[in-house]
Amino acid sequence: MADITAAAPVASRPLKAFGRRILKDKLALLAAFILLFIVLAALFAPWLAPFDPYNTTRRPFIPPIWSEGSLPQYWLGTDGQGRDMLSRLLYGTRLTLVMGLASIVIGGGVGALIALLGVYYRRLDPYIMRAADILLSFPAILLGLALAAVVGPGLTAIVIALSIATIPDVARITRSAAIVIMGQDYMEAGRAMGLPDRTLIWRYLALNCLSPVFVFMTLRFGQIILIGAALSFLGLGVRTPEAELGMMASLGRDALFFAPHISLLPSLVIIAIVLCVNLLGDALRDLLDPRMRNQ
């Protein structure tokens, strides 16, 4: 009996293998480093930022240090309101990452949970999948527009919209992974041992379909950041003076032709985040999907 329980459990091997593989894959390694750097910079923004990101008393439109007319204390110059760009970028990255993480955790969590319940309690499955199909019919950007119209523009509207948009896709991926696990002998064994549903669903089912769901959520995270930034860019997200990368890019539009750094710097940070996340996600997927690895 003890042997059977020991068989159920989660493989820690993929993580180790991923570590080994990523050391070999130089591109993914580079992406991991850049991402780590960005996340740390965002995390420690209050300590790293040289100035108050809301202080507007400086001269506006100071260019970054590599252009003519720059001032040495403002590495990345100032924006149209005379705020230090570097400080705002640090805070903006923070808010953008929080927006993406909150959405993927909430949406992914709900999506995975309902899919697991659907697979475990067969009766629920058709209803859950039908609901997911309907949700899938609403593109994220439309949900964002609609929610911003109802609750008013703001971070809340964006996070709700992005979460809802994440639910159906994660539910589908989780479902297909969980169906395979349900057919495994150890599920049957666990049931025969009289383990409670909660243990079976959580320890046996959920933990074992974690890796494909995690890969999917990684790849999805990049998309979520892009959509969130686009909604912010449209003015439907964070309100001024708060800094968020998409919204910062939008603020610089009027000054695009004489102070392009105000728009382009935040855009470049978004690209760096999404590119690194995508490269890491691809590396993860190659690892877990042997068919892709051989190509």
């Binding site: 019919s137 950007i141 990049g222 855009s267």
Partner: protein, 314 residues
């Protein structure tokens, strides 16, 4: 195939109802009393009550929803709070430009994406393949607005090659073509990446199947093998992908319209939401959702044409 389409149509009914319910709820947010507005500023309280009855505003909420549905079906979406013109008229002017923009994007981005993906698959592992992969990864990682801003700044402003504000005229006139070039380029550039990537994966899969080996063994030229046996089979998942990316296209269009002041539905929707013009926002979102459903329906039909198996199961 008819069966298949009917099934898809039936599936979009709950979605459509959901969108309409949302539009109805949005109208409930209008701060003013609609009966008082319709009755006019000089109306007596009795008259306002009378109007309220006439409009059905004193009835239960689900009856009001029914009334809303019948009004929408008759093309009455209310009146804009800002411009005081009918929402349907404002939308009518905006739908054309949006359709134009999407067409102008798809017409070059889809063939180019498919071509790039096929080339990458045929030259798998070589430099050409790597370049295509790099382009598509960069494409799916770049926000639409960044591409738009860069094109606008360099092609539009510094080099002065193309106009970048508003619509120049109908698509078939020289001004119209010039004006749509940058918006269509912007929207297309973000769309090529996913298409090329998907085509590559699909084509690689087909390349390794037995029927391709047979075709080669028959002595067909490589060109014939790729065109006739690989591409046609690879197109099926690609068409599905384009359908799945319709939301992406729509989102890109909203951003592109806003950047280039393109007078389309997306720009109208964003403007209405920011101005709390609920009736107009409701109408614009309704139209965008409808556009999304229609794109998906067209994709489904294409799918049925390309994949004969759909027939039997449909």
């Amino acid at each position: 195939m008819l069966n298949h389409i009917a099934q898809r149509l039936a599936m979009s009914v709950p979605v459509l109802l959901g969108v309409l319910l949302f539009g109805f709820l949005l109208l409930q947010l209008v701060p003013a009393d609609p009966a008082a507005i319709v009755a006019g500023p000089m109306a007596s309280p009795e008259l306002v009550e009378q109007v309220r009855k006439d409009l059905g505003l004193d009835r239960p909420i689900f009856v009001q929803f029914g009334i809303y549905l019948s009004r929408v079906l008759q093309g009455d979406l209310g009146v804009s709070l800002i411009s005081n013109t009918s929402v349907i008229a404002e939308l009518g002017e905006a739908i054309g430009p949006t359709a134009e923009l999407m067409f102008a994007c798809l017409v070059w981005a889809v063939p180019l994406g498919i071509a790039l993906g096929t080339i990458a698959a045929v030259y798998r592992g070589r430099l050409l393949d790597r370049i295509v992969i790099a382009i598509s990864v960069a494409g799916v990682s770049t926000p639409v607005f960044f591409i738009g801003l860069i094109l606008m700044q360099y092609v539009g402003y510094h080099w002065g090659l193309l106009p970048f504000i508003g619509r120049g005229g109908p698509l078939w006139s020289a001004e119209g073509l010039a004006a749509i070039a940058l918006p269509a380029l912007t929207l297309g550039l973000v769309f090529i990446g996913p298409i090329a990537r998907m085509t590559r994966t699909a084509a690689l899969e087909v390349l390794s199947t037995d029927h391709v080996r047979t075709a080669r063994a028959k002595g067909l030229s490589e060109r014939a093998v790729v065109m006739r046996h690989v591409l046609r089979n690879a197109l099926i998942p690609v068409v599905t992908l384009i359908g799945l990316q319709a939301g992406y296209l729509l989102g890109g269009a909203v951003v592109t319209e806003t950047i280039y002041s393109w007078p389309g539905v997306g720009r109208l929707a964003v403007g209405a939401i920011l101005a709390s013009d609920f009736p107009l926002a409701q109408g614009a979102i309704l139209v965008l959702a409808l556009a999304f459903l229609i794109i998906n329906l067209i994709v489904d039909m294409l799918y049925a044409v390309l994949d004969p198996r759909v027939d039997k199961h449909g």
